[in-house]
């Protein structure tokens, strides 16, 4: 249960209705022990609201109730509310709810003199005592005016009835048809002075919106606006518009976008619970980035709710498969839910009410709205803005990260604040076409990111078969280049570099060759030298031998002379 907002000091005791949103704007519920008038035109949900009040009272607040139906039989009623999951028969069997049909057939009744409605009082009293009722619904009391012609008696009896209800201390809801210029056809508001709720069903531009307003609530401060409300398979829910303040906590945790380089640009990813706007012209890849976001959320085990206002679930699944993102397994595991409706399917308030309801029930950590710009087609720009403001507030209060996609029209200024919601947006990533050299390429940059020193760079953003890829754009002497011009420039640079390296290799080879030649020459010279050296060595050896021989010969000769020489003298 959301906090009740207007719980004043020593305020009136209240009976909670259990209806989403209604307890919030009434500050806790309907005045306890007093009658409340619910009026509205045919088909605006009076009976349903009254019934939900009763059923929730019996099932959630342990307050049994009595439903007096003047228009439908008990069986018809049970049938009608079964679609909302209320089993009246079961509740009746447990004596928690008593449904009684009061049949008044004008044609069968002749009035002959004074009468009163004591029979009704007796029946009410009996029914209240039987189930120990704390709550009573009279739907639609005004039928009495059709059944009896003596209006003076009826009016005094109604006055007595309301007093009687108060004396019994039951919290009563009385429904009434709306009259011309008055709240109720029979002026019942005269008798019920404590709380009057007006239901309305308006059709604007072929879309219908149900609205609820508290006309009066004695002794309580209450929301005075018209609040849109929704009736669907789970009953009634009212959407408080303005009850949210700027009190949400700011988380320090970052969540990944699923694209590493985008996270880098955002200083680690957007903060949890903030709102991210992804805007760009048609075909700039917004949905692809959103799908990455969603997938990253699922990977972390966090539920993601994806509102798709342009494509069906299967179409998105197929398209994302083409860039390598398989989302189907996450759907099967209950982590990803698509809601695909046309924005024009119902009015903005209904959209908002429906979204509130989904978000409350599914409790996602990430909500993707693809695209929000379509809401303008369901209302005026001003209304769309108010609605988005409320949605952003609601999500922030829940600490739910929101990703809004916005389609900007080609011609307009890209950075013009869309729907004037940029002030609500914490992170704004802009996707743009960069048209250069006869082709369009996708560029991505971060326009703003609160609380982060975000990158100022434009990145080129490429869709590949394995997802989104962010590349640096070419920034060089030739300027900023993208796409095939970037590729061509890169190729040119590659060629030049290759040529350079080839030249270097050539020089290296030449050097090597020269060294080899030199070394060969050195080797040859050494060989020659050693050959000559050997020859000379031989010659030297031979000479030395020869000279030795001469010495030897001389010695021999001398010796031989001395042997023959003593008589002969000196010669």
């Amino acid at each position: 249960m959301p906090d009740t907002r207007a719980r004043g000091h020593a305020s009136l005791p209240k009976a909670p209705t259990g209806i989403h949103g209604l307890d919030e704007i009434t500050g806790g519920g309907l005045p306890q022990g007093r009658p409340t008038l619910v009026c509205g035109s045919a088909g605006c949900g009076k009976t349903l609201m009254a019934m939900e009040f009763l059923v929730r009272g019996a099932t959630e607040f342990n307050e049994p109730g009595v439903f007096f139906a003047f228009e439908e039989t008990a069986a018809e009623l049970a049938e009608n509310v079964r679609s909302l999951g209320f089993d009246l028969d079961e509740l009746a069997a447990q004596d928690r709810i008593a449904v009684e049909h009061i049949r008044i057939e004008r044609s069968e009744i002749e009035e002959a003199g004074e009468f009163d409605l004591e029979g009704l009082f007796i029946r009410l009293g009996l029914a209240i005592d039987t189930v120990g009722a704390k709550r009573v619904v009279l739907d639609t009391l005004e039928t009495l005016f059709g059944g009896f012609s003596n209006e003076a008696i009826l009016r005094s009896e109604l006055r007595r009835l309301f007093r009687w209800l108060k004396d019994r201390g039951v919290t009563a809801v009385i429904t009434a048809e709306r009259g011309d210029g008055t709240l109720t056809r029979q002026g019942l508001e005269e008798y019920v002075s404590d709380c009057v709720i007006l239901l309305d069903h308006r059709v604007n531009d072929q879309t219908s919106t149900r609205r609820l307003r508290i006309v009066k609530y004695r002794g309580t401060s209450h929301g005075t606006n018209e609040y849109p409300f929704l009736i669907d398979a789970a009953g009634f829910s009212v959407l408080p518009l303005t009850s949210l303040g700027l009190e949400h906590e700011a988380a320090n945790e970052r969540v990944s976008t699923g694209i590493a380089r985008l996270d880098e640009m955002l200083g680690g990813g957007p903060y949890r619970g903030t709102s991210v706007l992804l805007s760009g012209t048609a075909g700039t890849g917004k949905s692809s980035i959103a799908a990455h976001f969603a997938e990253a959320s699922c990977r972390r085990g966090e539920r993601c709710l994806y509102y798709s206002f342009e494509e069906s679930q299967s179409q998105i699944l197929r398209n994302m498969r083409s860039i390598g993102l398989e989302l189907a397994p996450w759907i099967e595991r209950g982590l990803l839910t698509f809601v695909s409706t046309r924005p024009t399917f119902y009015g903005l308030e209904m959209h908002l009410a429906a979204m509130h309801k989904h978000i409350r029930e599914y409790d996602p950590k990430l909500v993707v709205v693809d695209p929000m710009s379509n809401f303008i087609s369901a209302g005026t720009v001003h209304e769309a803005q108010a609605m988005l403001l409320r949605l952003v507030d609601f999500l922030k209060a829940r600490q739910t990260t929101a990703l809004f996609l916005s389609l900007t029209s080609g011609g307009g200024a890209l950075e013009a604040t869309e729907q004037n919601i940029s002030s609500l947006i914490d992170t704004w990533v802009l996707l743009r076409d960069i048209e250069l050299g006869g082709e369009r390429n996708r560029g991505l940059h971060v326009l703003k990111c609160r609380g982060t020193a975000h990158s100022n760079q434009v990145r080129e953003f490429v869709l590949t078969s394995h997802g989104v890829d962010l590349r640096d754009v070419y920034v060089g002497p030739e300027g900023v280049l993208t796409g095939s011009m970037r590729l061509a420039q890169e190729a040119r640079e590659r060629a030049a570099a290759e040529a350079r390296s080839q030249r270097i290799a050539g020089k290296r080879r030449e050097l090597e060759r020269k060294r080899r030649v030199l070394e060969a020459q050195v080797a040859a010279l050494q060989t020659e030298f050693s050959t000559e050296e050997a020859e000379l060595e031989l010659l030297i050896a031979a000479e030395e031998q020869a000279s030795q021989r001469i010495v030897d010969d001389r010695g021999d000769m001398a010796r031989s002379r001395q042997v023959k020489g003593p008589r002969g003298g000196q010669g």
Partner: protein, 105 residues
């Protein structure tokens, strides 16, 4: 043929009337009084009046679908007719009970 016999039965049969009141209020006393006088005058010897006090038998209020008090119900002859009020307006009461016949005039 049926309707003819019923028409005759309207004259001859016994009228079963039930008057629902809530306690001994002046209004209910007056209603009982008025009813008896009316029956004596128009249905001498051919009527049965049962007075039901819903304060004593509150369940009957639901079963017989009573809202206004006093309510006079003609159980027989068929069809059931209802007249509410203290029957001080005799003319209307007779019309309501279909006792103001057009046949004799």
């Amino acid at each position: 043929m049926n309707s003819e016999r019923d028409d005759r039965g309207l004259d001859d049969g016994v009228w079963e009337l039930r008057l629902y009141v809530a306690g001994q209020t002046p209004k209910s006393m007056k209603a009982v009084e008025n009813l008896q006088r009316m029956c004596e005058e128009h249905l001498p010897g051919r009527y049965k009046i049962e007075v039901v006090d819903l304060l004593k038998n509150p369940r009957l209020a639901k079963e017989d679908e009573i809202v206004a008090i006093p309510t006079l119900v003609r159980k027989l002859p068929d069809p059931i007719r209802r007249v509410i009020g203290d029957l001080s307006n005799v003319e209307k009461a007779l019309v309501g009970l279909q006792l103001r016949p057009t046949r004799s005039t």
